[in-house]
């Protein structure tokens, strides 16, 4: 290891703020993008599912109406 001690490592030779800011922001942005991307799939699936349910209901509703309609 290049550094003498752990506190030496965190101090980064006096540049701690800039180095850890860079690594911190990068980590947050990349993890954030990963979470958003993975969640996108679940959201899409939920959308498609609710659309299917809506269509199913519409179908049943139409079927019901057909039977109730007065015959000419």
């Amino acid at each position: 290891m290049h550094f003498e001690s752990l506190s030496d490592f965190f101090a980064m030779g006096g540049y701690a703020f800039y180095v850890w800011l860079s690594y911190g922001v990068t980590f947050v942005l990349l993890v954030g993008l990963t979470i958003v991307s993975v969640r996108g799939r679940r959201n899409l699936f939920n959308q498609i599912r609710s659309k299917q349910v809506r269509e199913q209901k519409l179908k049943e509703y139409r079927k019901g109406n057909e039977n109730n309609e007065p015959k000419a």
Partner: protein, 247 residues
């Protein structure tokens, strides 16, 4: 080759291929990024001029380089979509854009945090920084265009045109440090010259470049699958997939 490539024009096959590749890209990127980052942060020797602050290079250079590579990949996909009317290529271009935008933002922010201690300023309107900022705006514009039409084909075409026009910015970014006087240092690694850093520093940098590349691959695959599902939500195979997942 066309015979072999042809089946992947079918969304279902492409989706399956992306699903097969995804775990490999995800796992290998996490491993390489861990190795490269720990090596770069804790084991690489100190820079004689810049002290420990140079350790920002291990994310700054991979992010900046690959933000440009991602743009070229996206432009290739946009061109393929435009010339051969391949809808899946549009999906690929739309998948890459947000990944490239985040990489560009990372390159700008880490560059800023590196510039403050080294140059004494967070920001300067010189060629390299300004063209990199334009790259971010190009990415944001392309993302906005992809979302601006209900019709995905139309949105893809509009975004594709902007993507192809924006390619002009890439060589300008690359050569900006040679064409203009700038605070930004020249290229660290180039194909023709010997790299301007010792192997103990170069190795973790190259590992991290590889890791960032694999990570872009993994994120693009995740987003590509979403795009394919979104564009084919009425197809039976997507309905089967949704039905399977809800069990």
């Amino acid at each position: 080759m066309w015979k072999w490539l042809h089946p992947y024009a079918k969304p279902e096959r492409s989706y399956q291929l992306a699903s097969t590749l995804l775990p490999w890209f995800a796992v290998s990127s996490i491993i390489t990024l861990l190795i490269g980052t720990v090596w770069g942060l804790a084991f690489a020797p100190v820079d004689y001029q810049q002290g420990e602050s140079y350790r920002i290079i291990f994310i700054h250079v991979p992010a900046a380089t690959l933000a440009m590579s991602a743009y070229m990949a996206m432009a290739t996909a946009a061109l393929v979509a435009m010339v051969w009317q391949l809808k899946l290529a549009d999906a690929a271009a739309a998948a890459i854009a947000p990944v490239g935008a985040v990489l560009t933002a990372v390159a700008l922010i880490t560059g800023s945090a590196w510039g403050k201690p080294m140059w004494g300023t967070w920001w300067i309107w010189d060629a390299r920084l300004t063209t990199e900022l334009i790259l971010l705006f190009l990415y944001l514009g392309i993302i906005a265009l992809h979302h601006s039409f209900e019709d995905k084909v139309l949105a893809g075409r509009a975004a594709g045109i902007l993507t192809l026009v924006g390619v002009i910015n890439i060589p300008i970014i690359k050569y900006s440090v040679e064409w203009w006087n700038t605070l930004h240092q020249g290229a660290t690694i180039s194909k023709l010259d010997k790299p301007s850093m010792p192997i103990e520093m170069l190795a973790p940098l190259l590992i991290n470049i590889l890791g960032f590349g694999l990570m872009i691959g993994a994120l693009t695959l995740v987003r590509f699958r979403n795009e394919v599902i979104d564009r084919n939500s009425m197809r039976p195979w997507v309905r089967d997939l949704v039905a399977q997942e809800s069990k």
